[in-house]
């Protein structure tokens, strides 16, 4: 049995995302949708595991906007629904979200967005809390794993009370932290879907669900927000801990609450500093805020990443100055804390220590000197493509084709593990020159290709992964075809949404819970658009290079090459070697070969290492995935491959 279905009152070790999933189950959620993205993916993955037992409909949608529309349809039909995404997914969903918040909703609906301060697994540090303010939607932020569950459950109740969507915001250190959570009751889920729209135009429960008449609906939306604030004023998710008359008050939310607590502990300031933890962060509950602002004149605001709370609290304080008195604020706007990157207990303690004039206990000076000596001898460990990764072979092919072509072709990148080809020395050459949001590589390539009249004469290429193709590439590809963009578009098809853990996408023949579904072929879509389409295996270096060079030489049209090879970590491949690899030491000429150690300096597979004593390449068999590609790159044919039986 999945631990997500643990009995009420039992104490379970949940990851933050599992706690959110359990909270949704306790709220009686029926429909869950989303698009995978770290750190959010486990919410839907875990709910997929229990979908049949709990009678849920769980869907990995093509993108976040569609996912939110799918969830909204359930809400309009009276069911409870949840939509899950990473921070920048909210940007994708935001156009619909604006209109949804205006039309209002029926069954409780919660948008869970998991942000990634410090961009541990992102190419942005986007803040989606501002969407709550901009689009006038209530915002909740759990500050512990228990709250991740409890607040999710309450978010559904709140949504149903105000008849509008609610945003629940998590961060990597909450979603991917694990801890003890006490479970609540799982309800019997008997709601049936019924979309009623036979009522009068203005009837919120029986009329059509529309955002017009706009001004009237906008006014209604603001009344709903006001109702939410009234509930926030009394919510147990906002709480104060600390002395009756603190010298300084910390106002904080989310994982930063835990950092603040730890900082007080490190500095021994529990009797001098109080913490107001806010679980309801937009709109701010002003009466509650006033009560605690009165405790002291020094206020420190601890949050990630931008000064969202700080701005809102300062504006709110301006309106209550007569009651609260003049305050000194410490936060991001005065550089007490950084406005980029994630925080941790040490950063908060250092900032707090400076204000309170106390220092945390430090390590002995001699020990610190030893640390510095050792630190200088630690080699860095950069991210690389995994052993057996098809992307290494794909970019090898692209780089070879660019060299043969000789015109310094421009390659536009996209979002996936293959983004590593742009920024890090994951391979020994640079190919990808632009990297932005999902699908943007193709749109950019379409634009570059139209700059011919202004003297741009380099060939234009774009790469994207299979899941990215469905998410946001199709409109850009149609744009390229319709506007006669001369470009070579490459799909790095590794048979799943690999970076986030192999969630299925429309190109596969199954859905979130493993149910059989019709697949929608990338090649068929590209052909229907009118592109010239070819497919290849990137591990076949010779065959791939032939197609690529001919595509780049062919002028005036949209060419699509689909490079198909499953991810080395995919369940069907992991742990299975196709080839046993070995370096023939007689044949390897080492540094004197003239290849500049093509295998270990340019190809850069972690399993292909350098024997410093023998000065020859050597295969680390523990790490090698047995893809066999390195066999094809050695000019001396010194890398031997033997097919593994079975």
């Amino acid at each position: 049995m999945s631990k997500l279905l643990s009995l009420a009152k039992t104490r379970v070790l949940f990851m933050g995302n599992e706690a959110i999933a359990r909270g949704a189950l306790e709220a009686g959620v029926s429909v869950v949708s989303g698009y995978p993205g770290t750190p959010s993916s486990e919410v839907i993955e875990r709910l997929s595991d229990v979908a049949q037992e709990r009678n849920l409909y769980v869907e990995w949608s093509t993108n976040e906007k569609v996912a939110l529309e799918v969830a909204a349809a359930a809400s309009f039909s009276g069911l409870r629904s949840m939509c899950v995404m990473k921070q920048n997914g909210v940007n994708v969903a935001s156009d619909f979200l604006l209109h949804l918040a205006s039309s209002g909703t029926r069954g409780g609906i919660v948008l869970v967005e998991c942000e990634d301060p410090g961009a541990l697994s992102s190419v942005n540090e986007g803040e989606s809390r501002y969407f709550a303010r901009m689009l006038e939607i209530p915002l909740l932020e759990p500050a512990s794993l228990q709250e991740a569950k409890d607040l999710t459950k309450w978010a559904f109740e709140l949504s149903e009370k105000i008849r509008n969507i609610v945003i629940l915001r998590s961060v990597t250190r909450m979603s991917h932290a694990s801890g003890n959570v006490i479970c609540g009751k799982l309800p019997g889920n008997t709601r049936m879907a019924e979309f009623v729209s036979d009522g009068s135009f203005m009837d919120p429960l029986r009329g059509p669900v529309v955002s017009t008449p706009v001004v009237v609906k906008h006014n209604l939306q603001q009344q709903k927000l006001q109702k939410a604030v009234e509930l926030f004023e009394k919510s147990p998710f906002n709480s104060y801990s600390g002395p009756g008359h603190p010298e300084l008050l910390i106002i904080t939310s989310s994982a930063c609450f835990l950092y603040s607590q730890e900082a007080l502990d490190l500095l021994g300031l529990q009797k001098r500093v109080g913490i107001l933890k806010l679980g309801c962060t937009w709109p701010l509950p002003l009466r509650l805020l006033k009560k605690y602002l009165r405790l002291t004149n020094k206020i420190m605001i601890v949050e990630e990443v931008l000064p969202f709370l700080e701005e809102n609290i300062k504006v709110a304080t301006m309106g209550m100055l007569r009651d609260t008195g003049i305050k000194t604020f410490y936060g991001k706007m005065d550089d007490t804390l950084p406005s980029v990157g994630e925080l941790n207990p040490d950063i908060v303690a250092a900032a707090l220590g400076k204000i309170m004039k106390v220092k945390p206990k430090s390590l002995p000076a001699g020990y610190v000197r030893e640390i510095q000596k050792v630190a200088s001898k630690i080699p860095p460990r950069e991210q690389t493509f995994c052993p057996g990764c098809p992307h290494r072979a794909s970019f090898w092919n692209i780089n070879t084709a660019l060299k043969l072509d000789g015109r310094e072709g421009i390659v536009c990148g996209d979002i996936g593990c293959y983004a590593m080809a742009s920024l890090w020395p994951a391979i020994g050459f640079n190919t990808v020159r632009t990297l932005h949001s999902m699908g943007s590589g193709t749109g950019l390539a379409s634009g570059f290709a139209k700059l011919e009249a202004f003297g741009q004469d380099k060939p234009v290429l774009a790469v994207c992964g299979d899941s990215t193709f469905y998410h946001a590439v199709i409109p850009a590809l149609i744009n390229a075809r319709h506007n006669k963009a001369d470009m070579t578009f490459i799909v790095l098809d590794n048979a799943g949404t690999a970076m986030t853990g192999f969630q299925p996408h429309p190109g596969l023949d199954m859905g979130a819970i493993g149910e059989p579904l019709p697949s929608v072929e990338i090649a068929a879509i590209c052909r229907a658009i009118g592109a010239k389409v070819a497919e290849c295996d990137p591990f076949d270096l010779e065959g791939t290079s032939k197609i690529l060079t001919s595509f780049m030489a062919e002028r005036g049209s949209l060419k699509v090459l689909i490079m198909k090879q499953a991810c080395a970590l995919s369940p069907e491949k992991k742990g299975k070697k196709q080839y046993q690899m070995k370096v023939n030491e007689e044949l390897c000429l080492g540094e004197s070969c003239g290849c500049n150690r093509l295998c270990t300096r340019i190809f850069r597979c972690p399993a292909l290492t350098w024997d410093r004593a023998k000065k020859k390449a050597v295969v680390d068999e523990v790490i090698c995935a047995g893809c066999g590609v390195c066999y094809s790159i050695c000019p001396q044919k010194a890398i031997i491959r033997t097919e593994v039986a079975g």
């Binding site: 070790l13 770290t38 750190p39 541990l120 697994s121 512990s144 794993l145 228990q146 990597t172 250190r173 991917h176 932290a177 694990s178 801890g179 003890n180 994982a255 835990l258 950092y259 730890e262 490190l266 941790n344 207990p345 040490d346 303690a349 430090s362 390590l363 020990y367 030893e370 640390i371 050792v374 630190a375 001898k377 630690i378 080699p379 860095p380 460990r381 950069e382 991210q383 690389t384 493509f385 995994c386 593990c417 590593m420 020395p425 994951a426 020994g428 970076m499 970590l569 742990g575 150690r597 270990t600 300096r601 850069r604 972690p606 292909l608 290492t609 350098w610 680390d620 523990v622 790490i623």
Partner: protein, 203 residues
């Protein structure tokens, strides 16, 4: 069942290279400790950061309080490393004169070392660095034991077995068996128990 902790909280860091089974090791260890009635908080980084990069799990053990998922700098009590240079990387950030280090000896060379841009310290150098920076340290060849058992990825469980052997935490074979039977098939349990036993014998 629940023994008083020698220190509260006990801060444990499990580190290694992406793909070595770091997250699984932290889950198993945490599961054993939760079963024994302790409050456990884990902080992890995974996702794209695991692709060939350094991976770290922070595990905090307390008998009563919920803690930050990030251990403050210089406050680790136990470091378990599936790769020796990763032990050093954690040690210089989270180490203190009392920290205990248990490290696998099997090296996984970073790309910069393979290309020749950086040097990887020798095992003897690493041992003397441990001696200077840790209160106690052990280096064991867990990977060779795992390879002998048939799968190098079992080195994470060999390390958990060795941790039990070091008696630094209230864990034993019975607790391990109870935890893995929850999630593994009988065949898998058997090989994991063998890995645990081999590790336990190494200290």
């Amino acid at each position: 069942m629940k023994m008083a902790l020698t220190k509260d909280p006990i801060n444990i860091i499990i580190t290694g290279v992406g793909g070595q089974g770091n997250v699984m090791a932290s889950r198993v260890l945490a599961g054993m400790l939760v079963n024994a009635g302790y409050i456990v908080t884990i902080g992890e980084t995974f996702g794209m950061s695991q692709r060939g990069g350094s991976v770290m799990s922070h595990l905090r053990l307390s008998s009563n309080s919920v803690l930050s998922p990030q251990i403050p700098k210089g406050r680790a009590d136990i470091i378990i490393a599936l790769e020796p240079v990763e032990a050093l990387r954690v040690l210089v950030q989270y180490g203190n004169p009392d920290v205990a280090v248990l490290s696998n000896s099997r090296m996984v060379y970073p790309m910069g070392v393979i290309t020749g841009d950086f040097t990887y310290p020798s095992l003897d150098e690493i041992k003397s660095m441990f001696a200077k920076l840790a209160g106690k340290s052990w280096i064991i060849d867990a990977t060779s034991v795992a390879v002998d058992l048939g799968n190098p990825v079992l080195s994470n469980i060999v390390m958990i077995g060795a941790l039990a052997g070091a008696s630094l935490l209230p864990i034993d074979r019975r607790a391990f068996e109870k935890e893995i039977t929850k999630s593994m098939s009988a065949g898998k349990c058997e090989i994991n128990l063998a890995a645990f036993d081999s590790g336990m014998k190494m200290l």
